[in-house]
C-alpha cells in the first residue's frame, strides 16, 4: 500500500530491520499506546483509595460478570489467531468466518461494558461523583474505544473481503489487525487484574 523504497531487495539485513514498514509502524504505535494506557492505569492506582465519597469499588464490582466478559474478549483473541491462520493457508472463507466471529465477540464484550457502565451509573457512580468514577470510566472507556475501533477495522476487512478485494497477498493486513487486537486484549487483562481484582481497601 505505502511506497517502500527499493532497498529491500538489495541488502535487507544490513540496512533495514527486515520487518515490513507497516508492521514496524504497528509495533511502534502499540509501544506508544503502552505509555497511554500506562498513564491512565497509573492515575487509577494513584487515586485508588482517595475518593472522598462513595460509591467505592467494592460496592459496585460484580467480579463473576466481568470475568465472563473478560473471558469473551480472550476468546476473541483465539478467533483472531484462527482468522490469520486461515488467510495464511489461503482459506478466505474461513478467514471471513473467524473475522466476523472476532468482531461479534468484541461487540459482546462492548455490550457487557455498556451494561456495566449503566449499572454503575444507576448505583450512583458518575464521572463527577468521585475520583473512582472519573478514573474508572475514563480508563475503561478508553479501552472500550480501542475495542470499538478494532471492531470497525475487523468489519471493514470483512466487507472488503466480501467484495473480493482481500486476497492472500493481504495477509499482512490481517496480521496487523491481529497485533492490534491482541494488544487491546492484553491491556484488558492488565486492567482486569489491577482495577477489578486488586481493589485495595
Amino acid at each position: 500500500m505505502e511506497y517502500a523504497g527499493p532497498t529491500h531487495e538489495l541488502q535487507p539485513m544490513e540496512t533495514s530491520t527486515g520487518v515490513d514498514n507497516r508492521k514496524l509502524l504497528m509495533w511502534l504505535f502499540l509501544a506508544s499506546d503502552c505509555l497511554f494506557f500506562g498513564a491512565l492505569i497509573s492515575t487509577y492506582l494513584l487515586y485508588r483509595d482517595r475518593s472522598v465519597v462513595g460509591p467505592f469499588p467494592k460496592d459496585l464490582y460484580d467480579i463473576p460478570f466481568t470475568s465472563v466478559s473478560s473471558f469473551i474478549l480472550l476468546m476473541s483473541s483465539v478467533s483472531m489467531v484462527l482468522a490469520l491462520a486461515a488467510i495464511q493457508r489461503g482459506d478466505l472463507r474461513r478467514m471471513r468466518v473467524w473475522l466476523v466471529c472476532t468482531a461479534m465477540l468484541g461487540i459482546l464484550f462492548l455490550s457487557g461494558q455498556a451494561y456495566e457502565f449503566t449499572e454503575f451509573y444507576n448505583k450512583g457512580l458518575s464521572l463527577h461523583q468521585n475520583l473512582f468514577g472519573s478514573t474508572f470510566f475514563v480508563l475503561t472507556g478508553f479501552h472500550g474505544a480501542h475495542v470499538t475501533v478494532g471492531v470497525i477495522l475487523l468489519l471493514s476487512i470483512w466487507v472488503r473481503s466480501m467484495q473480493g478485494k482481500v486476497t492472500q497477498n493481504d495477509t499482512l493486513s490481517v496480521e496487523l489487525m491481529g497485533l492490534y487486537w491482541h494488544f487491546v486484549d492484553i491491556v484488558w487483562i492488565i486492567i482486569f487484574t489491577f482495577v477489578y481484582l486488586l481493589t485495595g481497601k
Binding site: L24, D33, L35, A39, T43, Y47, L127
Partner: protein
C-alpha cells in the same frame, strides 16, 4: 495516475496538479519539509511579536502597556507557540527535508502519513491561535487566548478558575498537535530503520539522522503521557470529572508529574535535532571529520534514555521529600555529562581544522558558545537547595532561553544557512548572513544575560509588573532593548531570504564541499531524489568519494570527474528502471480537517462533532482505498 519519473527527468513535470494544488496535494518529503519550515517560521514571527509585547510591558516598573489578563494570555501563547509551533516543527522540517536524502532513500516510509502530519500540525496551530478572537472584541484588547502558562498547572486550568474558552483551545489544540508529532515520530523511525540505502549501516548514518532517531523515539513515548494528562483535563473541564478537582480529593501534583514526564523528554526533542545539525555543519566547515563520532552518537542516545529520569527537577519546590529530591538531583547532575561530552567533541572537531568562516559555521559556533551557558546554568539547578531560590525566577527564564534560543534556534539557523542552497538552488548572501548572526548574537546576550541577574536579584517569572525600587529596572530595560535587536536580526534574515531567492548566487550541487549524501545530487533535488540509489561504503560517504586519505591521514582529492561519475547518478546511472513515486493525495488534508472540527464541537456544540468525525472518516477511508503509487 502513475507518477513515473524517468531517470533523466530532472525537474520534469509529471505531477497531475500544478501551482498551489501541487503543494496541497503533495506527499513529497521535500515539499512537506519546506511547508513545515515556512509555517513554523510564520508562527515564529507571531511568537516573536508576543515576546516583544511582553518585553515592552516589562521594560519599566509599574508599566501598564498590557493589563494582567492581556499579559497572561500573551506570555502563555508565547511559550506555547515557541515550543509546539516553532522549535519542534522546525526540527521536524529539517528531518523531513534531510532524512531520506541523508540515508539515500527516495521518500519517507509513509509519504501520505507525512502529509497528514503536516496538515494536522498546521490546522492545530491555527486552531490554537483562533482562541485570540474568542474573548470578545480583540480590537478593544479582549484576548480570549489561554492565560494559564504553557505548562497549564492544575487546578488553575480547571473550570472553577479559568472560565473562558482559552484553556479549552489550549488543551484541544495541543492534543491535535500531539497527533501530528506522533505520526511524524512513527514515520521517521520506520524510515530510518528500514529505508537506508545499501551499505548505510547504523554507524554510517550521519549524526543528524541519529539525533532524529532518538528524537522520534522520545516523541512517540512522551506524547501519549501528555495526551492522557490533556484528556484528564478535558474530562474535568467539559464533563465535570474530578482528576484535578481538589475538593473531591484530586491531586494537583498528578498534573505536574504527567506534564513533566512529557516535558523533560520534550526539552531534548527540541535540542537534539539542533545538536545533529551542528554535528553536520562543523565537520564540513572545519574540513575535518566529526571528532569521536561514536562518542557523539552514544552521548545522544544516553541523553535520550536519561531524559526519562529527570522530570521531577521541575518540581523540586513542590515538597516531594528529601529522597525524591536527592534522586532527581543526582540524575540531573548525571545528564549534564553526555551534554558536556558533545561540547568538547565539537571543539575538537574544529581544532586543527581549516575553518571556512561562512555563516553556517558562525551560527554553529554561536550555538556552542551560547548552549554552554545554558548547560552550565542548568548545573546550578541540579544543586537542589540552590534551585529552591532560582526556580520560577528569571534565572530559569534565562537558562532555558540559552538552551532553546542560544541552543536550538542558533543550531536551526546554522542549518537554514547550510541547507538553503540544497533546497532552493540559491546561496543565502554571506554578508547579510554575518550581519544576521552578529546582530542576533548581540541581541540575544543583551536580552537573556540580564535575565540571569534579574533572577538572582529575586524577580519571579510570569509577573505582569513589578514595583519601583527592587533594583530590576536597569536590567529589564536592557533585556527589552536586546529583544528589539533580536527582532532586527530576524528582519535581516527575512530580507536575506527574499534577496537571495531573487538575486542569490546559484548554488551547485555541492557548494560547501560537504560530506553527506544529499550533496551528491543536484540542488534543488529532483522529486525522486536519487536517480540511482547510492551504495554507501563508509561514514561521510560523499566526502570519501571525493577524497582519499593517505597513510598519514591527509586527504587527497580524487581526480576530477571520478566523484561525479560514481556519485552523481543522474549523469552516470546505468539503471534505466522507471522510478515509482507515490501519488499526490488530498485525503491526508481531508482527514486532518476533521480534528479541529471535532475540537470546535467539543467547545461550542456537540452537534458539530459528528461532522468532524465524518470528515475524518471520509479522509481516512479515501486514503486507505486509493492506490498509493502507480504499480
Amino acid at each position: 495516475m502513475a507518477a513515473i519519473a524517468g531517470h533523466a527527468g530532472i525537474g520534469e513535470a509529471h505531477e497531475p496538479y500544478s501551482g498551489i494544488w501541487s503543494w496541497i496535494s503533495t506527499v513529497d518529503h521535500k515539499k512537506i519539509g519546506i511547508m513545515y519550515g515556512v509555517a513554523a517560521f510564520c508562527f515564529f514571527l507571531l511568537g516573536g511579536v508576543e515576546a516583544l509585547l511582553v518585553r515592552i510591558q516589562l521594560a519599566s516598573p509599574n508599566e501598564s502597556f498590557l493589563s494582567p489578563d492581556q499579559y497572561n494570555a500573551i506570555f502563555t501563547m508565547h511559550g506555547t507557540t515557541m515550543i509546539f509551533l516553532v522549535v519542534m516543527p522546525l526540527g521536524v522540517a529539517f528531518m523531513n527535508l534531510l532524512l531520506p536524502l541523508m540515508i539515500g532513500a527516495r521518500d519517507v516510509a509513509f509519504p501520505r502519513l507525512n502529509a497528514f502530519s503536516f496538515w494536522v500540525f498546521l490546522l492545530g496551530g491555527i486552531f490554537l491561535n483562533i482562541s485570540f478572537f474568542t474573548g470578545g472584541n480583540i480590537f478593544n484588547g479582549h484576548l480570549g487566548a489561554p492565560d494559564t502558562g504553557w505548562y497549564g498547572y492544575a487546578p488553575l486550568t480547571e473550570s472553577a478558575f479559568s472560565r473562558g474558552d482559552g484553556v479549552d483551545y489550549w488543551m484541544l489544540g495541543i492534543q491535535i498537535l500531539g497527533i501530528a508529532s506522533l505520526a511524524g515520530g512513527f514515520n521517521f523511525i520506520v524510515t530510518i530503520l528500514n529505508m537506508r540505502a545499501p551499505g548505510m549501516s547504523l554507524f554510517r548514518m550521519p549524526v543528524f539522522v541519529w539525533m532524529s532517531l532518538v528524537t522520534s523515539f522520545l516523541l512517540i513515548f512522551a506524547m501519549p503521557v501528555l495526551s492522557v494528562a490533556l484528556f484528564q483535563l478535558t474530562f474535568d473541564r467539559l464533563f465535570n470529572a474530578n482528576f484535578f478537582n481538589v475538593s473531591a480529593g484530586g491531586q494537583p501534583l498528578l498534573w505536574q508529574h504527567m506534564f513533566w514526564i512529557f516535558g523533560h523528554p520534550e526539552v531534548y526533542i527540541l535540542i537534539l535535532p539542533a545538536m545533529g545539525i551542528v554535528s553536520e555543519v562543523l565537520p564540513t566547515f572545519s574540513r575535518k571529520p566529526l571528532f569521536g563520532y561514536p562518542f557523539v552518537v552514544f552521548s545522544g542516545i544516553a541523553i535520550g534514555f536519561m531524559s526519562w529520569g529527570v522530570w521531577a527537577h521541575h518540581m523540586f519546590t513542590t515538597g516531594l521529600g528529601a529522597a525524591a529530591n536527592s534522586a532527581f538531583g543526582i540524575s540531573t547532575i548525571l545528564i549534564s555529562v553526555p551534554t558536556g561530552v558533545k561540547i568538547f567533541n565539537w571543539l575538537a572537531t574544529m581544532w586543527g581544522g581549516k575553518l571556512q568562516m561562512k555563516t553556517p559555521l558562525y551560527f554553529a559556533i554561536g550555538f556552542i558558545a551560547m548552549f554552554t551557558i545554558g548547560g552550565l546554568t542548568g548545573v546550578t539547578h541540579s544543586a537542589v537547595p540552590s534551585d529552591y531560590q532560582q526556580n520560577d525566577t528569571y534565572y530559569i527564564v534565562a537558562h532555558f532561553h540559552q538552551v532553546l534560543f542560544g541552543g536550538a534556534l542558533f543550531g536551526i539557523f546554522a542549518g537554514i544557512y547550510y541547507w538553503f542552497p540544497k533546497f532552493t538552488g540559491k546561496m543565502l548572501n554571506d554578508t547579510l548572513g554575518k550581519w544576521n548572526f552578529w546582530v542576533m548574537l548581540i541581541g540575544f546576550n543583551l536580552t537573556f544575560q540580564p535575565m540571569m541577574v534579574l533572577g538572582i536579584m529575586g524577580m519571579p517569572r510570569r509577573i505582569q509588573t513589578y514595583p519601583d525600587g527592587m533594583g530590576w529596572d536597569f536590567w529589564n530595560a536592557l533585556a527589552t532593548i536586546g529583544a528589539f535587536i533580536i527582532a532586527t536580526s530576524v528582519l535581516i534574515f527575512i530580507w536575506n531570504v527574499i534577496h537571495s531567492l531573487r538575486n542569490g548566487e546559484v548554488a551547485g550541487a555541492d557548494p560547501w564541499d560537504a560530506r553527506t549524501l544529499e550533496w551528491s545530487i543536484p540542488s534543488p533535488p529532483p522529486e525522486h531524489n536519487f536517480d540511482v540509489i547510492p551504495v554507501v561504503h563508509s561514514l561521510d560517504d560523499w566526502w570519501h568519494k571525493k577524497y582519499v586519505e593517505d597513510a598519514r591521514g591527509n586527504p587527497v582529492r580524487v581526480p576530477a570527474g571520478a566523484a561525479v561519475a560514481t556519485g552523481n547518478g543522474h549523469e552516470g546511472g546505468h539503471e534505466h528502471h522507471a522510478i515509482h513515486m507515490p501519488n499526490p493525495s488530498f485525503f491526508p488534508l481531508v482527514a486532518a480537517i476533521g480534528f479541529p472540527i471535532v475540537a470546535f464541537g467539543l467547545i461550542y456544540s456537540y452537534a458539530i462533532i459528528p461532522i468532524g468525525v465524518i470528515v475524518f472518516v471520509t479522509g481516512a477511508f479515501g486514503w486507505a482505498l486509493e492506490p498509493a503509487s502507480g504499480d
